[in-house]
């Protein structure tokens, strides 16, 4: 644990080595999730979004990111736990998914983690939502960190007719 903590301190200055992965960790409720740091473009405070009609409840709307329109996904709602009631303290993590930029609404960004790729566990079979939305699980500080599958999160946004 000692060594791992040290690595964390260095995370901001040293690049991830070939076999390790740097994650941005954020929280929804008391659960921690992470995405690979290289996909993150920007982290900004929640400042409202223009709702999009005829979309699923986890699509919070669109925001203006320096002249381009970026959709915001409510991760809590995506997990089926109901819409977040966002405040100024909530955070939007803007990421690139393929060619597209999307934002996800989370409660808070907590940490930057460096984990070894060997430490990634498979998501246990069971709930289809879990296996669909998570790429894997890592352990950090004895806590579980779910690795978000962004492609899965942003898919199926349109309301079924």
């Amino acid at each position: 644990m000692e060594a791992l903590a040290f690595k964390d301190d260095m995370a901001g200055t040293t690049a991830a080595t070939a076999n390790s992965l740097q994650l941005i960790a954020f929280s929804i409720g008391d659960q921690t999730y992470g995405v690979e740091i290289t996909t993150v473009r920007e982290i900004r405070a929640w400042n409202g979004a223009t709702p999009l009609p005829n979309t699923r409840e986890f699509v919070r709307g669109v925001i203006n990111l320096r002249g381009t329109i970026v959709p915001i996904f409510d991760l809590r709602a995506r997990f089926g736990e109901g819409q977040t009631s966002p405040t100024k303290n909530h955070v939007v993590v803007v990421m690139s998914v393929g060619e597209k930029w999307v934002g996800i609404l989370v409660d808070a960004v907590s940490d930057i983690l460096t984990v070894s790729k060997d430490e990634i566990h498979n998501v246990p079979e069971g709930n289809s939502i879990d296996t669909e939305l998570l790429n894997g699980i890592v352990t950090h500080d004895n806590r579980m960190v779910g690795l978000i599958d962004l492609h899965a999160v942003v898919s199926g946004a349109k309301m079924d007719a």
Binding site: L52, P53, K158
Partner: protein, 756 residues
């Protein structure tokens, strides 16, 4: 050699422009305009294509273009008559040139012997003409593209383009007006003449204003290079001036400023002045001079030496000038002058007059090639500027206005300037529709040949300008529309005569600006849409239900249904059922609409209504369920307060609005967008919009905020398209507003209604 690739790319860009111009010129020639301007333009275009092709070593292209050019030259001289046969051959030859260019560009090999047949026809037409012209080595024509070559790395010391182009103007000094009096002027400058910054060249130019001059440089005095004094004067000239007006005094006046610094002798010459044709002319010297300012007189001498091959000591100097000299044949064919850019500023008047005609126009229009991406970036930034400016204007409330009048004035000026800037930027992107229209005459010719119908194409308003992106999207729809008119509209000649119409059908292609829109119409004087047949086919295919009654207009619109074709047989022109639906979807994609109107037995008119630009939209800003939406101003007919509107209820429960004796379908945006609003019904507003084909729809919104201009942003870029929403835009406060897709709402509303 990426530089060379760049030059190649530029060359191919130019080629496509030139090929377009060829089309255009021949269209005019076909219409009976046989003026020499047209022919000159054609000649110039072919010549430029050939010249560049030669520079890049596209041998097949050059050989073909050369034969073609020779024919054109004969036509221009009147040695070959521009008969219909020749015109047709030329038009066909343009295609072949285009093929050669395309093959060269894509690195594809054309089958051996491609174009030989046409080449043989050219030769047959031109043989018997002046063998000098047809047999001339083609390298001599290459000077148009010499500038391309000189900037290739490693060749920096080759002369810059200007002198060569100026050399090209030699011919204006040629073509001596025979007759008039001749004078021989012997001019030997002293070294003081140069020390006082005089330049013999300027004197010669001055002389040239008096008449035609022939300049001989006397080079006998020039020592071997080793004995060469940098400031020594070794050169003198003998000038033969032929002029009606010059007198000895007038000639002496030219040399007034160098009097005492030179030896000058002016004698009248015998009428048959022995002026050798190989003698370097003044203009050649003039052309070379600016390359080597420091060496002026010496280099002029060297140039002459190079031409005459007398003085070896100047071989090295002459080496630098070789390309220029090579490019300057003793007798310049006239077209070179035609393609030369602006004449030197101090050219004399007679000269300028002689190069009148199309060149003047050409020289007047100066243009640069700019990457479209760069322009788009400017367009986007101007868009943001417009938004910021409108935000500033909105922030100016009454108290601010009263307190800071200077600021208010400043903002007003800013508003005007941004408007102007925006218009200017849009004008950069705008192009005349001519670029698309000019491809259509060929299409009509082809169609006419394939169908056996006689068809004449008329184009109107081809200088109407429209955004480049829209123009690019126009080619396919127009092609389909014209095909459709030729195949289904225009009747066979016998049928037409029987119906009392002229034998040849007319397809009229027109463009005009109407407010914020461009209207492009394809009109034919054919039989009109056969509504019975269209309806029959539609019923057979289940597009229309068996008991559904349709108005004439609705039947006409059926031709846009996907896969719809009434042609009994599939021809290779049309009838496969792809076509009109492509037109509709392409035009919709660029924010336009298609309208069809048909008169039985008289013809059909298809009208495309297109936005002037894709980038900026005039909109009305409204609020629905607390969120901002914008509705394109172009589609809004009027706005009504709900309290004053006259609603009625249909048996299905759908509401309709009665306005000016018309019943209009109502769409409540809040419920349509599955949102809740707490605004009282009475305080809401009706925005009456007109969708495609003049169909109206009444949108109900919570509040109307105002009008403004917005820049359209894509939702699909980072997300996906949403029904009823045409895109997004960013408001002055930085928030995103959604653009209401009036057309989309109208059609989905119809679908809902029929499902209910």
């Amino acid at each position: 050699m990426s530089d060379l690739d760049d030059f190649k790319a530029t060359y191919f860009d130019e080629c496509s422009e030139l090929l377009l111009e060829l089309e255009e010129q021949f269209h005019a020639i076909e219409d009976g305009d046989r003026s020499s301007d047209r022919l000159n333009a054609v000649f110039r275009a072919i010549h430029s294509i050939k010249g560049g092709g030669g520079a890049f070593g596209f041998a097949a292209l050059v050989a073909f273009a050369h034969a073609y050019e020779t024919l054109l030259d004969h036509v221009r001289d009147g040695r070959v008559e521009l008969s219909e046969h020749v015109t047709a051959l030329c038009i066909h030859a343009n295609d072949i040139v285009a093929d050669f260019v395309a093959a060269a560009r894509d690195g594809v090999e054309l089958p051996p012997g491609y174009g030989d047949e046409e080449k043989a026809q050219f030769d047959a037409l031109t043989s018997g003409g002046d063998p000098d012209m047809s047999g001339e080595p083609m390298e001599e024509f290459d000077i148009d593209f010499v500038p391309v070559m000189v900037t290739i790395p490693g060749a920096e010391d080759t002369p810059s383009p200007e002198p060569i182009e100026r050399l090209a103007s030699t011919d204006s000094f040629e073509a001596p007006p025979m007759g008039g009096r001749s004078w021989i002027i012997r001019f030997t400058p002293h070294s003081e003449l140069y020390a006082r910054a005089n330049d013999p060249l300027l004197l010669f130019r001055e002389l040239a204003t008096l008449g035609t001059i022939e300049v001989k440089a006397k080079l006998e005095e020039i020592p071997p290079l080793g004995d060469f004094e940098p400031f020594g004067v070794y050169c003198s000239w003998e000038i033969t001036l032929t002029s009606d007006t010059a007198s000895e005094a007038r000639i002496a006046e030219v040399f007034e400023f160098v009097e005492g610094n030179c030896d000058l002798e002016i004698v009248p010459a015998p009428a048959t002045a022995d002026v050798g044709p190989a003698m370097p002319t003044f203009a050649e010297l003039a052309g070379i001079e600016p390359t080597e300012d420091k060496l002026d007189a010496e280099v002029e001498a060297a140039a002459a030496a190079g031409e005459e091959g007398k003085l070896l000591s100047f071989a090295e100097l002459a080496e630098q000038l070789k390309p220029a000299l090579k490019a300057a044949p003793p007798v310049m064919p006239t077209p070179l002058a035609a393609s030369s850019p602006a004449a030197p500023a101090d050219d004399h008047d007679g000269d300028n007059e002689r190069r009148s005609g199309p060149e003047d126009r050409r020289n007047g229009v100066q243009s640069i090639r700019v990457d479209l991406d760069k322009i788009d970036r400017v367009v986007n930034m101007v868009g943001e500027l417009v938004i910021t400016q409108s935000m500033l204007t909105q922030q100016m409330d009454e108290t601010l206005r009263a307190r800071y009048q200077e600021l208010v004035r400043g903002i007003e000026v800013l508003a005007q300037t941004t408007r102007g800037l925006q218009d200017a930027v849009m004008a950069i992107r705008a192009q005349p529709v001519k670029t698309v229209f000019s491809r259509m005459p060929r299409l009509v010719r082809e169609l006419s040949a394939k169908t056996g119908k006689k068809i004449r194409l008329e184009t109107i308003g081809e200088n109407t300008e429209i955004d480049k992106t829209i123009i690019e999207q126009l080619s396919d729809p127009l092609t389909h529309m014209i095909r459709n008119s030729a195949d289904h509209g225009i009747e066979m000649p016998e049928t037409r005569i029987a119906a009392g119409k002229p034998e040849a059908g007319v397809i009229r292609l027109s463009a005009e600006q109407a407010g914020g829109n461009i209207l492009i119409a394809v009109e034919d004087d054919g039989g009109g849409i056969n509504r019975e047949r269209v309806l029959q086919v539609a019923r057979d295919r289940g597009v229309v239900g068996p008991d559904q009654a349709l108005t004439d207009e609705q039947i006409d619109q059926l031709i846009f249904a996907p896969g719809f074709s009434t042609a009994a047989e599939v021809s290779d022109i049309s009838g496969r059922g792809v076509g009109m639906d492509v037109v509709l979807s392409n035009i919709k994609k660029i924010g336009g609409s298609v309208h069809v109107k048909s008169w039985a037995g008289k013809g059909t008119r298809l009208t495309l209504r297109l936005p002037l630009t894709l980038a900026v939209l005039d909109v009305m800003l409204v609020k629905v369920a607390g969120s901002p939406y914008v509705i394109p101003l172009s589609s809004i007919v009027e706005t009504i307060q709900c309290a004053r509107a006259n609603f009625s209820r249909m048996p299905t429960g759908n509401q309709v609005l009665q306005v000016r004796g018309e019943y209009v379908q109502v769409v409540d945006l809040a419920s349509r967008f599955a949102m809740t609003t707490d605004v009282d019904r009475e305080n809401r507003f009706v925005v009456l919009c007109e969708a495609e084909g003049g169909v109206k729809v009444a949108l109900i919104v919570d509040d109307i905020i105002g009008q403004q201009q917005v820049v359209i942003k894509s939702l699909e870029e980072n997300f996906q398209s949403i029904e009823g929403i045409a895109g997004g835009t960013i408001l002055g406060d930085g928030n995103v507003a959604l653009i209401v897709d009036v057309q989309g709402l109208k059609s989905t509303a119809t679908a809902h209604k029929s499902a209910a």
